[in-house]
């Protein structure tokens, strides 16, 4: 087999560019997270969400004016279509909700209540804790699994790549002021589980190549493994992104942020599988001065 001939792109040589791109995106996100923080949705912050559909087109300003009569002028108002609104306020009880809704009907137009969600602060705190536990559980579970199946340094590289993906999604969500909701946590957990798929495909290749091609340098093996798996990495990512795009454009407003998070996560995950995870193994070897030479193994018969 001709290693060099098959090599199309030198990922190892260009890895610093990839590191810089990732670092910049993560830093921007991190700055936003630190200074702007997260826009916690009512799931975590507590509050009330009302989704209504007026029978006639109504402007956001009109809705805000009516809310102002109830000292709720600062509420988040999202206009989904000419007549459909999602309103996020502090927590209000049913009596006040009734007053507000009848005031809408008197001042603006007839309406239909599509959705009402109220979450108290106790539940919100509780959910925050649960979300954190779930994320921890997933991270620890995956580290353990990868460590058992691969080497420890493989699991470190995968986890760093995972961390990279999550930070990018969270950073962009903070930057865009998108709400942190329970479905977003579900999306992050899915990204954690899925983003590993591509990393595993490449690392698996590397593991195989380390066994059989002991005369190559580690740099070449990494490059070779990434290039060898490149078309499947891109295709599997593409087939997963296609339905996510369908979900984003056709799945309705309740799922659109969820789909957006998955989309960002898949892009970041694919990128990190190719450009970050495997090259990190090289850094590990350099830092800990590991000589990746292995035992000389003659290549299998039938493989030329």
């Amino acid at each position: 087999m001709d290693l060099i001939g098959k090599k199309k792109f030198d990922f190892v040589k260009n890895r610093r560019i990839a590191y810089i791109i990732s670092a910049v995106i993560i830093m921007v996100g991190l700055v936003s997270i630190i200074f702007q923080g997260f826009n916690f949705g009512i799931d975590f912050a507590g509050g009330t969400l009302i989704q209504i559909n007026f029978s006639e087109p109504v402007s956001t300003a009109e809705v805000r004016r009516v809310l102002g009569d109830f000292n709720l002028g600062q509420s988040t108002i999202q206009n989904l279509s000419g007549s459909e609104f999602v309103i996020r306020t502090e927590r209000i009880d049913i009596e006040k909700r009734k007053e507000i809704l009848s005031s809408f009907e008197e001042n603006l137009s007839e309406l239909e209540i599509l959705r009402v969600e109220t979450v108290g602060p106790v539940i919100g705190e509780n959910l925050k804790k649960l979300a954190l536990y779930a994320l921890l559980f997933a991270f620890v579970g995956i580290i353990l699994y990868i460590t058992v199946r691969f080497e420890f340094k493989f699991s470190i590289a995968s986890i760093l790549a995972l961390f990279h993906d999550c930070m990018i999604v969270l950073g962009i969500f903070s930057l865009l002021g998108k709400e942190i909701t329970i479905p977003l946590i579900a999306a992050i957990l899915t990204i954690i589980g899925y983003s590993l798929n591509n990393t595993i495909v490449i690392l698996d290749r590397l593991r195989e190549n380390i066994k059989f091609k002991t005369r190559e340098t580690f740099e070449n093996l990494i490059n070779f493994s990434i290039n060898q798996s490149l078309s499947r990495t891109i295709n599997t990512a593409l087939t997963t992104i296609l339905p996510i795009l369908a979900l984003y454009f056709f799945g309705g407003n309740i799922l659109s942020d969820f789909a957006l998070a998955l989309f960002l996560g898949m892009i970041a995950g694919t990128y990190s599988s190719i450009f970050i995870a495997s090259p990190l193994l090289l850094e590990w070897n350099k830092i800990f001065k590991v000589q990746q030479k292995g035992i000389r193994i003659t290549e299998k018969k039938g493989r030329k």
Partner: protein, 396 residues
């Protein structure tokens, strides 16, 4: 075709038939979550007040009274559960007006009769019955009837307040301020407030079921109206179909004959997922639909891994049959590892999950298992059969 292979083909068909059988007719066999069929999810907490401290007995009585109220609302298959020491979970699938339901459930509904000095003369504790009717101006009214003790108390109260106002209050709010014309001794009275038919009916329900012994607070309430639920289903199906068509087309264009095999496996996979959802009586939620759509994308991944491996083996000039065997055995471990990690994440979600997200975790897990099965079993047998009829050139 050898016997072993015939057996495998037969068992796949049996699995598919079982899945179809379990899931048809589909609109009856799939449980829809509250977010899809409309309904309310409410968590109540009994809170201590100086007058009414919460104890175990009080929580049980609250549970009982709320159950009575919900029964009278006519909700089919409600869930009313105690959660921990002081909390009560209420789920009302399919209620037309979730806000009204929430209002009825959370009210203390303490009926009081107060004299002009604002002193409580008696409460609704000794009510026998309450029902709606209309007065001579056909305005809705609520007729109440006291039991023996109540009738005596009510008689005393009206006797000492003749010619004066005896205000009727619910949870401290005045609903009517009638002037007592003469003592009422038969224990029957009518409440004439500014009722609509609906509000009179709700008051009657509350009075019949009785007042809650302690104050309750609504900690969490998620209500979806039936319109949005239906809308979510329509949009979910649309997104699913668009996603499916995109993938089927992509696979066909990029992988040609192999793509056709993957497309077949994908359709089988979807049938299995739906069958498993129905068979396990799992609840399909909106995030659950998202999970299914996501799985559609993930399901072909395993096929792509396998095909790429087979292509590589073919490049080494192995026979088609040998390439299939080598491709599967080399891809298997990767497919397995990759899916286990997603399953770990799904498991974390399941434990974390409140209702809708649990639905996501369930469909995702079922989807992963179904896609592994179809890739490793269905795709393989189809390829093996293809290898007996075609050369590898026809597929690649």
């Amino acid at each position: 075709m050898n016997w072993n292979r015939t057996l495998r083909v037969a068992s796949i068909f049996i699995v598919i038939i079982i899945a179809i059988f379990l899931s048809s007719p589909i609109n009856e066999k799939i449980n829809l979550g509250l977010d899809l069929q409309g309904g309310s999810h409410i968590i109540l907490e009994c809170v201590d007040t100086p007058n009414a401290p919460v104890d175990n007995d009080a929580v049980n009585r609250v549970l009982e009274i709320i159950r009575n109220r919900i029964d009278q609302l006519g909700v089919s298959e409600p869930v009313i559960q105690r959660q921990g020491a002081n909390r009560i979970l209420v789920q009302l699938p399919g209620v037309e007006d979730p806000e009204a339901a929430v209002e009825i459930i959370g009210k203390t509904a303490l009926l009081e009769f107060k004299d002009e000095a604002g002193i409580t003369q008696l409460t609704g504790a000794h009510l026998l019955n309450a029902k709606t009717n209309f007065d001579q101006f056909s305005r809705p009214i609520v007729l109440i009837e006291f039991d023996k003790i109540g009738a005596k108390e009510f008689g005393d109260a009206t006797k000492s307040n003749v010619g004066k106002v005896l205000a009727i209050t619910l949870d401290g709010k005045e609903i009517s301020t009638p002037v007592v014309q003469e003592p009422i001794l038969d224990g029957k009275a009518q409440i004439t407030g500014k009722f609509t038919v609906e509000s009179a009916n709700h008051l009657a329900i509350l009075l019949r079921a009785g007042a809650l012994p302690v104050q309750v607070e609504i900690l969490e309430n998620r209500s979806v109206g039936p319109t949005l639920g239906r809308d979510s289903i329509t949009k979910g199906i649309k997104a699913g179909i668009v996603g499916l068509i995109l993938i089927l087309t992509f696979m066909l264009i990029y992988y040609k004959g192999f793509g056709l095999v993957a497309d077949f496996a994908l359709v089988v996979c979807i049938l299995l997922i739906v069958g498993a959802l129905a068979g396990l009586k799992a609840t399909l939620t909106l995030p659950g639909i998202a999970g299914m759509i996501l799985t559609i994308g993930m399901a072909v991944d395993a096929n792509i891994l396998i095909f790429e491996r087979i292509k590589e083996e073919l490049r080494l000039e192995k026979t088609f049959r040998a390439s299939i065997d080598a491709g599967f055995s080399k891809a298997f471990r990767t497919i397995f590892d990759a899916n286990v990690t997603t399953l770990i994440a799904a498991l974390a979600l399941f434990y974390f999950g409140s209702g809708p997200i649990k639905g996501f975790a369930v469909t995702l897990s079922i989807g992963i298992l179904a896609s592994m099965f179809t890739a490793i079993v269905v795709t393989r047998i189809v390829l093996e059969l293809a290898a007996t009829k075609f050369s590898s050139k026809a597929l690649v």
